[in-house]
Amino acid sequence: NTISKSNSCIVHFLISFSPSRNEDLKEMLESNKESLKLEAMKRVVGLIAKGKNASELFPAVVKNVASKNIELKKLVYVYLVRYAEEQQDLALLSISTFQRALKDPNQLIRASALRVLSSIRVPIIVPIMMLAIKEAASDMSPYVRKTSAHAIQKLYSLDQDQKELLIEVIEKLLKDKSTLVAGSVVMAFEEVCPDRIDLIHKNYRKLCNLLVDVEEWGQVVIISMLTRYARTQFTSPWKEDGVFDEHNERAFYESDEEKTRDETEAKPYMMDPDHRLLLRNTKPLLQSRNTAVVMSVAQLYWHLAPKNEVSIVTKSLVRLLRSHREVQYIVLQNIATMSIQRKGMFEPYMKSFYVRSTDATHIKSLKLEILTSLANEANISTILREFQTYVKSQDKQFAAGTIQAIGRCATNISEVTDTCLNGLVLLLSNRDETVVAESVVVIRKLLQIQPTQHSDIIKHMAKLFDNITVPMARASILWLMGEYCERVPKIAPDVLRKMAKSFTSEEDIVKLQTVNLAAKLYLTNSKQTKLLTQYILNLGKYDQNYDIRDRTRFIRQLIVPNDKNGALSKYAHRILLAPKPAPVLESAYKDRDRYQLGTLSHTINTKASGYLELSDWPAVAPDQSVRNVEVIEPVKEWAPSLGKTVKSKPAKSSDDKFYSDSGEEEEKGSGSSSSEDGSSSSSSEGVLHILQNERVCPESGSDAESHVQKNSSQTSEESDKSSSQSEKSSSESDSEKKERKTKTPLQKKTVKPTSWTYVTKQQHTKTIFVNVINQHSVLQTFSYSHWSTLCVSLFTQLCPLSLAFPLQLSGPAFVPEKSHDLLHRMTGKGLSAQYQFPRQPCLYQPTMVSVQISLTNTTDHPLEQIHIGDRSPTGLNIHCFNTIECLEPEASVTVFMGIDFNDSTQAANFQLCTKEDHFSVSIQPAIGELLLPITMTELDFRKEQGKLLGMNESSATITMAAENMTSQPISRPVATVANLGMVPSSQDNVHRFAGKTANSGAVVLVTVELRGESTALITINTEKSVMGSMLLRDLKLALAQA
């Protein structure tokens, strides 16, 4: 190898270098003028960039390594890194310069010296590199430490014997608190010692918490490492089919009042809070602009999250499809694998996978793959319609792919098998050969699945046989003839006759099938075909291809009885005409899930070198406490008391289990990091912190103070509000004790007093959140304006539901069973139709309202082809039900359709057609049916209400009977009128309901306030003021009646 390399170098050299020019450069490098040297170096680097050899300038270049001119020096470094390996002896001359530079006061120079030193791949300097790395790993500057993390990998690839020493350095750097270092050291960990999972334990929580602030490339590496880690440390969240997971999820979002404790205690699977921490902290990264980060979060959720949470990554993955072609390719591959296991995840985005004529070929086939995987009974008609367009594509390879896809759909969904088969038969008369050939092959497979009914198709194919030239297709037809020769007893021998004529000019694969056909016919119909068979076997005997000779010999022995083989030929019929299992048409991506998603191995579908297997979940979780971080000096004092409060917690209210658990570790985490923060001013390592603090403090100045005041005022307000909760959640004494304890170390601290005083004013439960943010703020180094951010995020953190802000739909509170007449049997000539609103979110399109229609045939003859015809207004968006082919007398059928009413009560007019007649019908929705219920907390409700005042508010006072003044009778009439969700209310006399409009998703808030004896105030807040007033009218009516 080296010889060939040096050879090529020489060749390069001969071509690219005229000796004179080389001399010229040497002279320039040795001159005294800086500018000449610089010019020469630029030309040299230009040569390197072009891939030309400049190695023999080495002596001249290396002299300049100590140059004062930074630009020149950099160019020399570039040169050194490129050629040091080839000129090891000379390279050693430069080492002392780097050793000196490693001690330079300028961190930039230290870092670049280490970078170059570690890039010189000369084994003799390994000890020097090792020393430099160790030293740099405890450098003040995080930038230098980052460089040392990179150097670890370089040294490791140069000399694997250093592994143990290097692991020590990695261990040290893993403890580093700087976001700058985290990504690089994890990268080094992955390369040097990916199996030393024990090094991660203590740093796990820190890495999770730092993740958001690490630079994007580091995020990718850390996420993939944490995915592997989590699979070894936590138990599977998949066991309980999502029931309990859902529960857990609810516990996360819902406020604590409504749940009873035994519900939570009954659950057998409890997600490790650390597991949850990872999922929670990676989620925001789905919004990253870096596609690699998004993909790595997606794969993390795929491999680690409970099944019901995985789908949150869908939207982001679909977004990536807008990116560059190469990104699309990778993402589509991963979606292809995902969609096989979880159709539901991508089904709503089906249209994003529609193929454009401008897509590259590999993109087209991937999209086709995904569309095929997504096909199910409900959407198959849409998909097949789309496929019809593709079949006509000019890209014939793609058209052929589409035919295969149709074949797969046909086998997977039995309802459409016949339709597909007919469609494919039509394609047989296509002008393009590849299309015809592919169709034949696919039809052959389909017929094998359902062989009974299709002798017509076989006959048709026999007719086409003469025109088809593609070998694979011809072979397929011959095989079909042979396999089902008893169904086409007249045609098969004739085909064989034709083949006998053309045998010698056929392709091998066709010849083989001809021999097969001959053998099968000989067995079933020897009278007609005996001679033909013998003729073909004779031809085969002297064929050039040994496979064919071999097959011929075998077949002859098998079917033609003679004395020697008597035993076997008895079974010839059973051997040749044994029933054959139908081929399974399945995705090429079916077994790709053995590789971790998003990896190179997954893309190339073979194990790439250095691929690290994802282990299976352990049956029993390893010790969780390994991740606990010991608390250091100043905080030690109050740590025990903290522990106590935590321990007493689960006994209290179990419904905030989730928080208390995460709180536990959060507190510990923050405890340690704040302690670090406290001590950092004295330690030499805390440069970054100091830097940050400097940046925060001077800028903020007076502003910070005002914020503090704001903080405290907000705090008192907040604590007022939550006083009721505090009684439930934490014992007064506990929190007091803690307050005192926490204050002690705090007084020493000068850096961030604001956040801490804030903490102490909160009750225990709140402290958890504050800690989360507080810790975050320490890490993120907010500049002063973050204080406002902090306050805001604090409030939102305190009311957990707002995390899930994009309003959560809930199930309908009540479904009225009242149905309306759509078509009376008199006007409908015996067809009667009734409709009602099932109040379910529409499956077809979220903007639609679902309508349930029951059709009854009251005539004495079957009604055929009931479907929906013309509609008005013409723009009306209706998802029709599938045509009902036949409705027997006295039978009735219930179908669903979706109508987009566009948030108005304008009637949807359309025609209900049967084979003979059509009837104009109309559906006029009540205003309340255009809504979908949503869940929100009271706090959210108020917040939303605050935004919708003035024009957007309508209210009325009504009189109602006194016995209806309790909650139940109020919610019933409201729910009957409008599809709204109940909002939990802390006041007895105020009832709140929330919903959103189906089309535009505008929030609709209804408040019913009972006043005094028999009056009630109804208030409706929505930006759709017309809807608001209409709803108010309906509610007034309903409540007054009630």
Partner: protein, 418 residues
């Protein structure tokens, strides 16, 4: 991670190579060139190629192949994303990304590549950081440099690299402080023969050009943030605040950057600004066909549609065409069979029409499928989704910046099936 990078032009010439670990012989590119030969279009070259000892991951962009050599397992998107960053960096530094530009600035590109990766792992990819280390060329500077012998290489402490706001360089000073935001929306659509929408969606992007002194902290809010369904942000945007308040709060990088990209809620119906009436037919016998295309405005919200362009890939069997356009002009390349009709501004009174005859090669069969039309268009001062920027506030600095917002709607992948 990333071992080497080769830049290759469409004819297969390797004109730049950079190695971050041991040198990999450029003969490794042969596998790639082989694949390139096989592919009909440069776009069809598979992005990931598996060779006996290496993995080749490549992108095709701006008529250049960026080919990276990988030796061990790495997320392919990681490499692809990085390669695109390299292309963007070249674009950013030299105004365009092309073979000539790279060849002209060979040394600087090489130095930049050296800074971007260390041992194959990204080190500095933020343009603000890179620009502090290696200053982009300007005419003035190159004159000064030659006169005084000063360099292009920064020797200051890398403040950007070291701070937790790595995207912004320190000590920015401007005499005119200005912040401009462009809201650019693209309509992706597939229309079928009858003009009904098979698929349509709106993708938007907020491009920013911020030239503000010091460390400004900006807050941008929208009138109707609820329109936005799915978003992705520049790392500077505080995600928490977006989640809770639906405002964009950020300390911007200096200069041009993409603040956010978004996808408009799929529930809203997409307004299609133009309609296309077309008939392309080939006669069964004889070797002739007709083409008749009319474009007219549909839902334009009262704005004028500009820059309308229709691109058609005609079937391979077309011999020649003879068309007349009532507005604009058309070009036809007989080699690639690409018909481009540049219409320009759409006048509702007089609809532009292109019609004429197509002649097929003698004896060639009638094409199976009619070619689909790709439409390009532009509407100024309109974001088709109705998204509106409400206000922009600045904290942290005393001066009053000049602020501006511009809206543009464009056609993305807008295809009419025929």
């Amino acid at each position: 991670m990333i071992n080497s990078l080769f830049l290759i032009n469409p004819s297969g010439e390797i004109f730049l190579e950079k190695h971050w670990k041991s040198v990999v012989s450029r003969s490794v590119c042969d596998y790639f060139l082989e694949a390139k030969e096989k592919a009909l279009e440069p776009e069809d070259v598979p992005p990931v190629i598996h060779t006996p000892h290496h993995y080749l991951i490549s992108i095709y962009r701006d008529k250049l192949f960026f080919l990276s050599v990988i030796q061990t397992e790495v997320p392919p998107l990681f490499v692809i994303e990085f390669l695109h960053r390299v292309a963007e960096m070249i674009q950013d530094y030299f105004g365009e990304c092309s073979e000539t530009v790279v060849k002209d600035h060979m040394v600087m590109v090489y130095e930049l590549l050296e800074e971007m990766l260390d041992n194959g792992f990204p080190l500095a990819t933020e343009s603000n950081v890179l620009k502090e280390m290696i200053r982009p060329p300007t005419i003035l500077r190159s004159v000064v440099n030659t006169l005084t012998g000063t360099s292009n290489v920064g020797d200051t402490l890398l403040t950007g690299q070291l701070s937790t706001i790595p995207w912004r360089r320190a000590g920015v000073r401007y005499t005119n402080n200005e912040a401009y935001f462009d809201v650019v929306e693209e309509i992706d659509a597939i229309l079928d023969q009858s003009g009904t929408t098979v698929f349509a969606e709106i993708q938007g992007v907020v491009e920013a050009c911020v030239k503000l002194s010091g460390m400004p902290d900006l807050t941008l809010s929208f009138m109707n943030p609820r329109l936005l369904d799915d978003v992705s942000f520049h790392p500077c945007v505080r995600y928490k605040l977006w989640e809770s308040e639906r405002v964009l709060s950020f300390i911007p990088p200096d200069g041009n950057f993409t603040l956010m990209t978004y996808h408009v809620n799929a529930q809203n119906l997409v307004a299609i600004p133009v309609y296309v009436k077309q008939s392309i037919s080939f006669f069964e016998c004889g070797s002739d066909g007709r083409l008749d295309v009319t474009v007219g405005p549909k839902q334009t919200m009262g704005k004028t549609v500009e820059g309308v362009m229709v691109t058609v890939h005609l079937p391979k069997t077309i011999l020649s065409i003879n068309l007349t356009a009532t507005q604009g002009s058309y070009t036809y390349d007989n080699g690639t069979k690409l018909l481009v009709w540049d219409i320009g501004k759409l006048n509702p009174q007089k609809l532009p029409n292109l019609r004429g005859s197509l002649s097929l090669q003698a004896g060639a069969p009638k094409p199976e499928e009619n070619p689909s039309l790709n439409i390009d268009l532009k509407i100024q001062q309109l974001a088709i989704s109705g998204l509106k920027v409400n206000r922009l506030d600045m904290f942290g600095e005393k001066y009053k910046p000049f602020k501006g917002v511009k809206y543009i709607t464009k056609a993305g992948k807008f295809q009419v099936r025929t």
